[in-house]
């Protein structure tokens, strides 16, 4: 086939990129070579639009053992151990085939973790869907949740937490971001390198089929009404195969017979051979005829580009081959020698000995195009940031109790039990902070430590102000970790945006990355890796810019883990100060059907002091619960602290705020405003003075606002009764909102 503009377009390559290929090669590439370039230079693999921005992120710190660039990042958690973690998106496949898209997303991130020599001990996910009642939403939600459950449950890694939000902007582009964390001996971390001339290159795992060819290219394009036709580009997952691979690889890694290992994820065999060679400064030569194949008649092009799941590429030390083969045999896996490491820096592909592709590794990796794409502040911002509170105050406002019930029934706020009950969140017996109650917490067996993990992001905030929204996401993730008693140590990010070739989208991206960088620097949590998902658009409409931040924190003493649940008879303290900020709030959206204003302000210094205080109080066992006030403000947070306690209510008095000429809106702002850097803690009454004194010492505003107990949620604002709801009624609304949407009892 001649390479004409049509072929280039089908490969997602631009004419100038083709010229660049020709100049690297010194000749026209053949079709196999073009295919290899197209996946390696796709946005998904090359980060060509995002790279210049990502370089500005803070990635270093004394605790960082492995920063970005490897299969996953790693931080030192003491006792000679490392926490290895990363987040990745599987948005595009999940839209096309929700179950398999989500399942293979989970499979991919797990491989990234055990490839580093770490045993995976926790999964989390961050999901975004359109409005729950919108057509098709139910199919997507059910499929994605079942896919995550199907893979994670089977392989035996607990899904310990996550978050879900529903916004119309995700209707045509759901987000499925999956996170995995594993534990490795810090000295035994294994990398994805190929080195040592003559060392054998092994293929192990599932056979290669025609599934997923051009998955990476698909993930680098927008959707349109033909997207359903791309289903063959979505792969099918086999968690059992992956479980065998996981156990066998971890066993092989004990032997020190490995030079390097990498999973075949996006861009399959192509990416793993090129990246391993490039990292090791070596070349890799393989013969595709030796690759185990599921179908007959596969061409070298198809074998190199297949994204069949559950496959690994290994480089084995000379003379240790039999040992490695024996371990894989034990697990009924066949490690097949498909090539060797060379010294010439080339990716050389043969088919039964005949040369079919020969490309310098560096041309595929380090020399891939980098774009500094044009940016422009989006014009929509002027309108959406305007929020006339006096005008809003003139509207008919619901009673605050009714507004609270509406918020509790909002799918973004409501209990996600229907979701996480489908995930095995307890296997491995490390889960000491159950899902649905803030951060996920897993103990680290063999130590006194535990790790607190949180994923957070707020697309609405980022739509209104990407920079501040991203800062708020970092702050919230770290705050959730602190509320479990964990000291935030490291972060990973998944950046979900629209088409970067459009200047307003690129501006959103750059702003968000700046915000993440600033917040991570201020809070002392370096980014150790992550993933970028662009082109999240359908028919020209982009999603809300949605950076999702995952933060991992360390608890020195697992016994000091905190939950959010109240105990009867305790004093309730609000740390931080509320300014009644309603911009971008859940209240505006749910009660007023309005997405407008500026997201809450954030003072990162105050945030850091708050988090340090909460961790300190937790370590000293001075508080019995901690919960961050975010979606729905203090009123929703107080209600959540009462839920799941078996009927422990609260009676609290909040200060008033004055944001509007309408008193009812002022009341709503005090209750439902989403000012950042606030945490509700509870403490036994005899410790209250100590808590307040330590807060004063830390320079964190703190006020005793009430008592736990009783069977009601009672909140007053500026001395006037505002909310008085029976706890059981409120809890029923919160518990059933999502479940009743899905479940018709099958008796």
């Amino acid at each position: 086939m001649a390479i004409d503009p049509g072929v280039l377009e089908r490969h997602g390559l631009k004419p100038d990129e083709y010229d660049r290929i020709v100049s690297f090669m010194g000749r026209e590439p053949n079709l196999t070579e073009l295919g290899i370039f197209s996946v390696m230079w796709s946005e998904h693999c090359s980060y060509k639009s995002s790279r210049v921005h990502l370089k500005t992120l803070p990635t270093e710190g004394p605790q960082v053992l492995q920063g970005p660039g490897e299969n996953a990042g790693a931080i030192d958690i003491g006792d000679g151990l490392a926490a290895v973690f990363k987040i990745e998106s599987h948005n595009h496949p999940s839209f096309i085939e929700p179950y398999q898209g989500a399942a293979t997303g989970v499979g991919g991130i797990i491989r990234d973790i055990f490839t580093m020599g770490a045993r995976p001990i926790a999964l989390m996910n961050s999901l975004r869907f359109g409005a729950l009642h919108a057509p098709g939403a139910r199919r997507l939600v059910e499929g994605v949740v079942a896919g995550i459950a199907g893979y994670g449950n089977s392989i035996g890694i607990p899904t310990v937490g996550g978050e879900i939000a529903f916004e119309p902007s995700y209707a045509g582009n759901p987000l499925v971001n999956v996170f995995c964390l594993g534990i490795a001996r810090a000295s035994d971390i294994i990398k994805g390198v190929a080195s040592g001339v003559g060392n054998a290159v092994y293929y192990v795992g599932a056979k290669t089929g025609r599934d997923g060819i051009h998955g990476a290219t698909m993930a680098s394009a927008e959707f349109d009404d033909k997207s359903a036709e791309k289903r063959p580009a979505v792969q099918v997952g086999d968690p059992f195969m992956e479980k065998l691979l996981l156990e066998a690889c971890l066993e092989v890694m004990q032997t020190d017979a490995l030079v390097g290992i990498q999973d075949m994820g996006a861009a399959g065999l192509t990416c793993s051979t090129a990246e391993m060679g490039s990292r090791g400064g070596a070349g890799v030569e393989i013969d595709v005829a030796l690759v185990p194949q599921r179908e007959s008649g596969m061409t070298p092009y198809e074998i190199m580009l297949s994204e069949s799941q559950e496959r690994m590429l290994l480089v084995v030390k000379n003379g240790r081959e039999a040992e490695v083969e024996r371990i894989f045999e034990k697990w009924d896996l066949h490690a097949v020698r498909i090539g060797r490491v060379t010294d010439d820096g080339m990716l050389r592909v043969r088919a039964r000995g005949t040369l079919v592709a020969e490309i310098p590794n560096r041309a595929l990796t380090d020399e891939a195009p980098v774009y500094r794409r044009p940016m422009e502040r989006p014009s929509y911002l002027v309108n959406v940031q305007r929020l006339d509170l006096d005008e809003l105050g003139q509207r008919r406002l619901p009673a605050s109790g009714d507004a609270l019930l509406d918020l509790l029934a909002s799918p973004t706020v409501a209990s996600k039990q229907w979701v996480y009950r489908q995930y095995d969140h307890m296997v491995q017996t490390n889960t000491i902070g159950l899902p649905g109650l803030g951060a996920g917490v897993v103990r680290v067996k063999g130590t006194k430590h535990a790790l607190a993990l949180s994923l957070d992001g707020n697309g609405r905030y980022c739509y209104l102000d990407p920079r501040r929204g991203a800062m708020l996401a970092v702050a919230e993730a770290a705050r959730n970790v602190a509320c479990a008693g964990g000291r935030p140590l490291g972060a990973t990010n998944c950046l979900n945006f629209g088409n970067p070739e459009r200047p307003p989208i690129m501006w959103q991206f750059a702003q968000a990355v700046e915000g993440i960088g600033e917040a991570c620097r201020a809070l002392g949590v370096p980014i150790t890796g992550g993933n970028v998902s662009l082109y999240n658009e359908t028919d020209g409409r982009a999603i809300y810019p949605t950076p999702i931040i995952g933060i991992v924190g360390l608890l020195g003493d697992a016994d000091r883990v905190l939950g959010r649940s109240f105990h009867a008879g305790d004093a309730v303290v609000l740390l931080g100060s509320g300014r009644g900020e309603l911009g971008g709030s859940e209240y505006l959206k749910v009660v007023h059907d309005t997405v407008a204003g500026e997201p809450p302000a954030i003072d990162l210094g105050a945030e850091r002091a708050l988090q340090a205080l909460v961790v300190d109080l937790a370590e000293r066992a001075l508080i019995r619960s901690a919960h961050d006030a975010s979606d729905g403000g203090v009123a929703v947070a107080l209600a959540e602290c009462c839920f799941g306690t078996g009927g422990v209510g609260v009676d609290a008095a909040l200060d008033g705020v004055a944001i509007s000429s309408a008193s009812r809106l002022n009341e709503a702002a005090a209750l439902f405003g989403e000012s950042a850097s606030r945490v509700i803690v509870s403490t036994q009454p005899e410790r209250l003075a100590d808590v307040l004194a330590r807060a004063a010492e830390a320079g964190v505003p703190a006020k005793a606002i009430g008592r736990t107990g009783g069977a009601a949620i009672r909140i007053s604002v500026a001395g006037r009764a505002a909310i008085d709801l029976a706890l059981a009624d409120a809890e029923q609304v919160w518990m059933s909102a999502i479940e009743k949407h899905f479940e018709k009892r099958v008796a």
């Binding site: 059992f240 479980k243 996480y420």
Partner: protein
């Protein structure tokens, strides 16, 4: 005392059972690979939870053909205590070591949560230290835990007092709401006629430490330690009620 934890490819609660036995109980335990032929002289055998062989066919349907199952059957035939947890219970059903079969949960979805089960019988190796009627708070995590037995078998199980655990409310009352998967007669666990083979869907090994939300499952393991220490089957008259 020595426990054997059988590892099938796809087992994923093997390490949890091992941890509960060794770290919490302080007994010794060894993993036994499914291709092995011997249980290594174990006093107690645990078939752990997971997805043996991927469970792409019926749950447990492939595992019963593993070489180790012959040894497990011999061990059981000699009166040795065998505990099948979740997938291990499913394997025991498929292997014919326990009667009945598993269907998909009536809600058709995987469910992972703490439930309450009531101890119905205290003369099995795994319940001798529990009190009859004692309610345990223990997690379940399964998609196919809807225990089914035809009416004759179900009646025989009741007559022979082979129903060892039943799903109940926290107060120990059998209700439809407290039955998480639709099991016949709210059955959560049963034993063999000789009472030495016990299978249950809930995971006692996940409920052995307060930090995990409940330590109620510990009694299952403490029971078998007491039972074996007391001399096992020989030391206790086996309850036999004729139909």
């Amino acid at each position: 005392m020595k426990f054997a934890v059988v590892v099938f490819p796809g087992s994923n609660c093997d390490a949890d059972a091992h941890y509960a036995v060794t770290h919490v109980l302080g007994e010794s335990a060894a993993f036994v690979w499914h291709k092995d032929a011997s249980l290594g002289g174990a006093d107690v055998v645990i078939l752990p939870g997971g997805f043996a062989h991927g469970d792409y066919l019926r749950t447990g349907a492939m595992a019963r053909f593993s070489p180790i199952m012959a040894a497990v059957r011999d061990f059981a035939d000699r009166g040795g205590p065998v505990l099948g947890i979740c997938n291990g219970f499913q394997v025991l059903l498929e292997a014919g070591l326990l009667p009945g079969a598993m269907l998909r949960n009536r809600g058709l979805k995987f469910r992972c949560e703490h439930v309450h089960i009531r101890v119905e019988e205290t003369d099995t190796p795994f319940t001798v230290r529990a009190a009859r009627g004692q309610v345990l708070r223990i997690p379940i995590a399964h998609g196919e835990g809807n225990y089914f037995a035809d009416p004759d078998t179900a009646a025989r199980l009741e007559q022979n007092h082979q129903v060892v655990f039943r799903y109940t409310t926290a107060d120990g009352v059998v209700t439809d709401e407290a039955n998480p998967n639709g099991s016949v007669a709210s059955i959560a666990g049963i034993c063999s006629e000789r009472r030495n083979v016990v299978g249950l869907m809930p995971h006692p090994e996940r409920a052995c430490e307060a930090a995990l939300g409940s330590a109620d499952g510990l009694v299952v393991f403490q029971s078998v330690v007491a039972w074996v220490t007391a001399g096992g089957a020989a030391a206790r008259p086996v309850l036999q009620e004729q139909a």
